[in-house]
Subunit: 345 residues, 2 copies
Amino acid sequence: MEVTNKYVAIKAQVDGAPEESDFEFKTELISLTVKPGSKDIIIKNLYVSIDPYQVNRMKTLSDSQKTSEFAVGIKPGEVIDAYGVGKVVASGNQEFEKGDYVVGLISWGEYSISKGVILSKLDPMGLPLSYHVGLLGLSGLTAYAGLFEICKPKKGEKVFVSAASGSVGNLVGQYAKLFGCYVVGCAGSPKKVKLLKEKLGFDEAFNYKEETDLNLALQRYFPEGIDIYFDNVGAGMLEAAILNMNLKGRVAVCGVISEYTDTGKRAAPDMLNIIYKRISIQGFLAGDYMSLFPEFASMTIDHVRTGKMHVLEDVSIGLETVPSAFVGLFHGYNVGKRIVQVSED
Amino acid sequence: MEVTNKYVAIKAQVDGAPEESDFEFKTELISLTVKPGSKDIIIKNLYVSIDPYQVNRMKTLSDSQKTSEFAVGIKPGEVIDAYGVGKVVASGNQEFEKGDYVVGLISWGEYSISKGVILSKLDPMGLPLSYHVGLLGLSGLTAYAGLFEICKPKKGEKVFVSAASGSVGNLVGQYAKLFGCYVVGCAGSPKKVKLLKEKLGFDEAFNYKEETDLNLALQRYFPEGIDIYFDNVGAGMLEAAILNMNLKGRVAVCGVISEYTDTGKRAAPDMLNIIYKRISIQGFLAGDYMSLFPEFASMTIDHVRTGKMHVLEDVSIGLETVPSAFVGLFHGYNVGKRIVQVSED
């Protein structure tokens, strides 16, 4: 049986801030049966992840993109692969069969055809399917690995998280609080600040847009200095955090959203601070920490089931909402993990 | 017995590039006998170390300086402590006695009065006393700890060293070559480049002043990319190195001489490269690695005695040469470790 698969594509490489007009919907005819001998897995997409890093894949290929298996360039007109949850429609791969839920690399489209690479069978474990996109997906693993493996917190240490109401930041803050750290987050609206303090249990939170001097803001919230900075934004916030760090401070950098769409915007941290305070800055990608998945998932599910951790999701419905959801990330419209529900289960 | 102790002092805080006129020679009367009950150690200074980092201590106190026990501010008119080798004239401390050689914190003067803090008895082990100032002092330990402990090289990895004919850089390059790495250094004159290649055994070396595009220069010398960058300079060289680093590249930063005297000059590395290539940048100070001293000294002495390692020293004679020696560091006048011989043994 053949069906029309609608998918989202870029019209041309996107080198600045993305706009909805950079995208188009295309269709292709695909077969919902697998040809004899093929090992393809045909998936009906249910929930897809909307992540800022995709904008880097849309750019004219840069050196960074070429050197990373996690950032293969996206070509105009082509299907865009993305993390998500789907259901197998047909499979030539004996590890998957019709009706299985799967999680991993699917696409910003109605259907995906997978070779089984970066794809696993999913046991929803009684949790909403969307939880497996963000909380128990790469956003969650990024937060967990970055905080525990890279920053190696000690109880009582002072943790600063930027983009703290975002998909990764909100989890970093919650993990750090549950672990016994003092946690301050920054976000871009009074509503988000309220959410961080009142719902997620951050010790303090502030709206960076209301601060004229980030250095002074951090001095105010960290009178005893910052031990760990989980950087999601780069640029001026990273510079200010370095100025306020304690001896042997650690910075984990998994994203620099403020620099993605503006290459002129860069952090120029004070290297003297980095030397004298023996600060480390470590770039990382969650994909390197897949071995931590079992302990990460186990701890996280436990916290969620016992109500200690809140799940922040921002889900819109319909493939048509993918461009606006994606563009909105760069304007701070999302609260928590941005997900699009493509189809009902 | 009282003598006149001549010492070097700054006339006022030095906030830009230092000049000889920023310094003055002062004298004080000191006793060469120890008062009953005093634990002072009176030392005749023989060789003193001339290091770029001292300029940071001469500045109007910055946040970095305040947070580091290694960078106590220097006040105008006062004695400037510095690493070096001396001989005990009198001692109220039972661990030291007259005639002992000592190494550690003495001063830019003819005599030092020490409380025994950061001071050890020195067994010259048949090596020139000056070797204990640089090669077997903090310069050597900085090179050793930065390369082996922070960058953790593997045989065959590609190592880039800036300020490679300097006190630390020349040793980093020699250690890395002896360990089995591919090593490229940069320096600021054709004579230094020749020395690196012909005497110290670097695989390649280049004069950064002759390069109009540091990124292209590094692409030329590292067609397979850089695994380790030992940064002694900061600013543009750090940015170019990041662009040319391989996956999981490591940067050790122990000094940023180009940024010391020009706070407007800063590295603004591409954070996307840092994330996608999972690069780490680690600031460090040798003082944190004193526990490595025995293995460091043993390996280094062995290499020097067997002729595998060359000792690059730039020694001038007389306390009067301290200001010019120090100022010269910022103009690249030194080759190897800059030392002043204050007195004959």
